[in-house]
């Protein structure tokens, strides 16, 4: 253990505002080079969540006053129960799905649009596409994935949703504006004339740690760094995530053994020690996981 570890600050859960579900475990039809939990078609170290498991957590979340529900993987729509899971969730509150957009089916989207109409809550789709062209996207996400994800976007727009496109930055921060404008033009051509775009920082863990250098020992959050820092910027101060192993501190650290806090939501409400390199990225970039409409900037 390094010195930096002992100086790690603890972050308390202020309120469980967002409840996440690792709904397809680590299973994904793609195998992106920057995936922060190394998902792939044969990584089943985390498995699918059943409708029943999700329902149990939804029921428990009522007492805790959870405001919104998020679904991630892997690719959530590889889970055969994904549509019923979302239909059920929309009875409880708003839902957001993080998808790669490549496996969506019109009939599912129609059912989900109906479920959204019945519920009164919003159903948001966040589609990961890593740049406005296949040349930028495909080397990261795989051959033809740009084209396939854009077909997914078209389907979502046709079903009446306004997807949020998220991209992981593989360019310098100064180029953000240029990339965003180009993306707006491209999306408009695919029928999405009201694009909602969000750039995410790269997390140097999982597959990304093998691709790039990973975190070095000085890239850690220290107690001194927390003085005058707005903790609500950190996902772990207002979220938890359910996997097939139990409840973890945040979606980012899923694979770290110390992220598993208990079997039920009630057991997962303890403070967490920010002793991981990824915490350092969270610290620098703030709430990278939530939707803009939910942000509560200080």
């Amino acid at each position: 253990m390094s010195v930096a570890f002992q100086n790690s600050p603890h972050v308390a859960l202020q309120a469980l505002d967002e409840l996440w579900f690792q709904v397809s475990g680590t299973l994904c039809n793609l195998e992106c080079t920057h995936c922060f939990i190394s998902c792939s078609p044969n990584n089943d170290s985390f498995g699918f969540l059943s409708l029943e498991t999700v329902c149990r957590s939804l029921e428990e979340s009522v007492r805790l006053g959870v405001k919104e529900y998020y679904f991630t993987g892997g690719e959530p729509f590889l889970n055969k129960e994904m549509v019923p899971i979302l239909e059920e969730t929309l009875q409880y509150g708003p839902a957001t799905v993080l998808t790669n957009g490549t496996v969506l089916k019109d009939e599912w989207l129609k059912r989900l649009r109906d479920a959204e109409d019945r519920s009164g809550y919003t159903l948001e789709f966040r589609v990961s596409i890593d740049g406005p062209t296949p040349e930028i996207n495909d080397p990261i996400r795989g051959e033809r994935t740009f084209e396939r994800a854009m077909i997914g976007v078209e389907k979502l727009v046709k079903a009446g949703f306004l997807p949020i496109i998220t991209m992981t930055r593989t360019w310098s921060d100064e180029e953000d504006q240029r990339v965003l404008s180009e993306f707006q033009r491209v999306l408009a051509k695919h029928g999405n004339d009201r694009p909602r775009l969000k750039i995410l920082p790269r997390l140097k863990i999982g597959a990304e740690a093998e691709r790039s250098e990973g975190y070095n020992q000085t890239e850690r959050v220290t107690k001194e760094m927390m003085v005058d820092y707005d903790e609500s910027q950190l996902v772990c101060s207002h979220s938890r995530i359910v996997s097939d192993r139990g409840v973890h501190v945040c979606p980012i650290l899923l694979e770290a053994p110390d992220s598993l806090l208990g079997d039920s939501l009630a057991e997962s409400l303890l403070p967490f020690s920010l002793n991981h390199g990824a915490c350092f990225t969270c610290y620098l970039y703030g709430s990278i996981c939530t939707n803009p409409s939910s942000s509560k900037k200080e």
Binding site: V66, K67, L123, R196, S293, S294, K297
Partner: protein
């Protein structure tokens, strides 16, 4: 007993005048403003005498907190550079045109107002009971979240604003959350009127009515133009559609608008 609640005046003193008249006609005993006095519109200093003259009780909004404490921005938390650009223009305009005396008054406003009537505990806030700049949209706020806020903060009736769209939700045990809407700009539905909220309390009943309100929006638009405020803002007043700062809207609220 009747009360009127409104939020987000956004310098729209013409709509404020109209709301005061309309609510007086309806026999309202007390007026409450839930904050965000500045932004968007022209001539910030014309709002304050009206509030004063009609003894409107005011909660501090994020905008009021910023202007009162000489901050650099409005704390709306936009991330889109285009939104920030427009937000900054109106923020700087409002800051410069608000007298130092009025700024000092904004600084002292309370972040919540509480009272009890007929056994009901009222809590008036700007965003949410726990946070001045929290957006509570109808489509992104679960009922059990509101219930927990009500219980945690010891309130039966929570009233807030900040999003610009009015809505309400009945909670269990007779509790309610009410977003009272804003006077400053129309609701992104293609109509030019704005909204305020009438609350009638009788025995143990709390009845809530949202009131659409006409005002001289043509005149407001002209004054905004002569003050050289962004054309995008003027367009919103004249058409009823929001043109900027749309990124914070949930998909469901966004898609019923035009942009």
């Amino acid at each position: 007993m009747k009360f009127a609640f409104f939020g987000g005046i956004y310098n729209n003193y013409l709509a404020l005048e109209s709301a005061i008249k309309d609510s007086q006609k309806r026999g309202v005993e007390q007026l409450y403003c839930l904050g965000d006095i500045g932004a968007f519109g022209p001539h910030p200093d014309r709002v304050f005498p009206l509030l004063n003259q009609h003894q409107v009780q005011v909660v501090q909004g994020n905008y009021d907190n910023s202007i009162g404490n000489d901050l650099n921005d409005c704390q709306c938390g936009y991330t889109d550079p285009k939104d920030n650009h427009f937000a900054q223009i109106s923020y700087e305009y409002t800051y410069e045109k608000t007298s130092s005396q009025n700024r000092a008054w904004l600084k002292e406003l309370p972040t919540e107002i509480r009272f009890e009537l007929m056994g009901k505990r009222f809590l008036l806030c700007h965003g949410s009971p726990r946070k001045t700049n929290e957006f509570l949209w109808e489509s992104t706020t679960s009922t059990h979240f509101l219930k927990k806020q009500a219980d945690d903060f010891g309130a039966d009736i929570i009233l807030g604003t900040h999003t610009g769209l009015h809505w309400k939700r009945n909670l269990s045990e007779g509790q309610q959350y009410i977003n009272v809407g804003v006077l400053g700009r129309p609701e992104n539905d293609g109509t030019k009127n704005v909204w305020y909220t009438l609350v009638t309390i009788e025995q143990d009943r709390v009845d809530v009515e949202f009131i659409p309100l006409e005002y001289d929006h043509q005149r407001l638009a002209k004054e905004m133009q002569s003050e050289k405020l962004p054309e995008e803002f003027v367009e919103t007043i004249l058409t009823g559609w929001w043109t900027t700062c749309l990124e914070v809207l949930p998909g469901r609220e966004r898609r019923v608008g035009k942009f």
